[in-house]
Amino acid sequence: MNPANYLFVSALLFTIGALGVLTRRNSIVIFMCVELMLNAANLAFVTFARIQGNLDGQVIAFFTMVVAACEVVVGLAIIVSIYRSRRSASVDDVNLLKF
């Protein structure tokens, strides 16, 4: 199969993730969309590794996964704490700071 197709999928995933961040209201879902974007990058890395014929991209994917996991942990901590004080995970409700 033409490896370029994987790139198309990756671009699609990235775009969907980015638009998801814009359109969703729930901060957890927004965060999941960001994870989608990271995974799109991972897919691109792996595909390019295949195209370029070296393994760098695959190793990088490992690093990305670990970093993404750490991000999940930190993100969940922040979101849970704000949910507990506001009873809402909606990003529309956090706008005390503005202008």
Partner: protein
Amino acid sequence: MNLYIPILAIGAVGFGFAIFSVLAAALTGPKRYNRARLEAYECGIEPTPQAVGGGHIPIKYFLTAMLFIVFDIEIVFLYPWAVSFDHLGLFGLFEMVIFIATVFVAYAYVWRRGGLEWD
């Protein structure tokens, strides 16, 4: 060159798809306020247990999930090392010991600060 131009096209398609689906939902879907969309999981399933403390999601759930992710992910580095540890020799061993020790520090922290106690 030609090989990659479709990336742009696909990007545009993806963008259009997302806009289309949002618009379609807005135009065709029922326009009423839907509480479920503000739920944590947005899929109709109410987080349980419900109502005991006014709808608290038990914090333990999240804590455990987070701990799981942290300690689970270290395997990513252990696996490649295990495959070629004979090539890496003492250097690899040393580095891996440092890595595991560091993760263990995190574990010790969680343990001492009561993160592992269910109540």
